[in-house]
């Protein structure tokens, strides 16, 4: 009965453990409740009592949610080799590393390059100009950026069991990687034209 499944899902969500579980884990637990209720109703127990009993037999949902392994297997071969994909938390920490790299590079290293480029009067490509202005902005708010990073790290440590949606964490990771690669390329482009200029003079 679709209504029963939906009702059980809503009760389950109301228990406040939905964020701690993956969709797969939640679906499995709701399926268990559904089977349990169906069996009890089949044995003559009123539906409302059957639901209560099923939740009671399932146990403390918060405790169960805490017991699930952090990194569920994405797939297991018949031989027993399990494939474990990095979870959203791992993506979060990777993004943290890339953002730290970007902030350090942008606020301490890039200004030095800016100074060199200004002295030798090398023409700056658009990408370099963009990242130079970004690093200038970053340099003036380095304390704020550092605090934001620290806050993010503390959040990830504090709420270990809260599952961030994978698309969101992947987006943050890809954005931070693009920022880092963009910064490095923007610093190298004028250097290349500088070296070409030096080679041309010879």
């Amino acid at each position: 009965m679709a209504n029963r499944e939906e009702a059980l899902r809503r009760i389950f969500d109301a228990a406040g453990v939905g964020a701690r579980l993956t969709d797969d884990q939640k679906r499995e637990l709701v399926a268990h409740l559904e089977d349990s209720v169906e069996k009890k109703v089949g044995a003559g127990v009123p539906e409302i009592d059957a639901v209560g009993q099923a939740f009671g037999e399932l146990g403390d949902l918060k405790k169960i949610a805490r017991q699930f392994p952090d990194k569920p297997a994405a797939a297991v071969t018949p031989e027993g080799v399990s494939v474990v994909l990095p979870d959203s938390r791992a993506y979060g920490w990777m993004a943290f590393c890339f953002l730290t790299f970007f902030i350090v590079m942008g606020s301490y290293v890039a200004p030095k390059f800016t100074e060199i480029f200004r002295q030798v009067k090398v023409p700056l490509p658009g990408l370099t100009v963009l990242f130079m202005s970004l690093s200038n902005a970053l340099g003036s708010k380095i304390g704020l950026a550092g605090l934001a990073l620290l806050f993010g790290a503390l959040l990830m440590l504090r709420w270990r069991k809260v599952r961030v949606p994978r698309p969101l964490s992947l987006t943050v990771l890809v954005s931070s990687v693009i920022l880092c690669i963009g910064l490095v390329i923007s610093l190298f482009l004028p250097l290349i034209s500088l070296l070409e200029g030096v080679g041309g003079r010879r």
């Binding site: 349990s36 146990g59 169960i64 071969t77 027993g80 399990s82």
Partner: protein, 108 residues
């Protein structure tokens, strides 16, 4: 009570989904437990490569996640059985003073 060997033994004959495993554990071992704790165990066993799982249509027409033993799982179950026999033998020696059928010779 250690649940891993029990779950592996239940899954030895054919793939089953969570509710079926819980029911069989209740019937065969007279196990009184919070059934929900089975699922973290199943996920850990799967992560460790002892079980494989797939969602498929159950006889009641609903999709259920079936678990089956992998080769590694079968090996671990065989080892668990040997360990269990050894444990029973040791405890029997202490409690019964020898083989199961010879009570009365308690250990000093």
């Amino acid at each position: 009570m250690e649940l891993r060997p029990l779950v592996l033994a239940i899954l030895e004959l054919r793939p089953l989904y969570g509710y079926e495993i819980a029911q069989r554990a209740r019937r065969r071992a007279n196990l009184q437990w919070e059934e929900g704790t089975l699922y973290p165990l199943l996920h850990r066993l799967e992560r460790d490569g002892l079980l494989a799982s797939e969602w498929r249509r159950a006889p009641n027409g609903k999709d259920r996640k079936y678990y089956s033993l992998t080769k590694k799982g079968k090996t671990v179950l065989a080892k668990d059985r040997v360990d269990w026999k050894e444990r029973v033998r040791v405890v029997s020696e202490i409690l019964l003073g020898g083989r199961h059928g010879k009570p009365g010779r308690s250990a000093p």
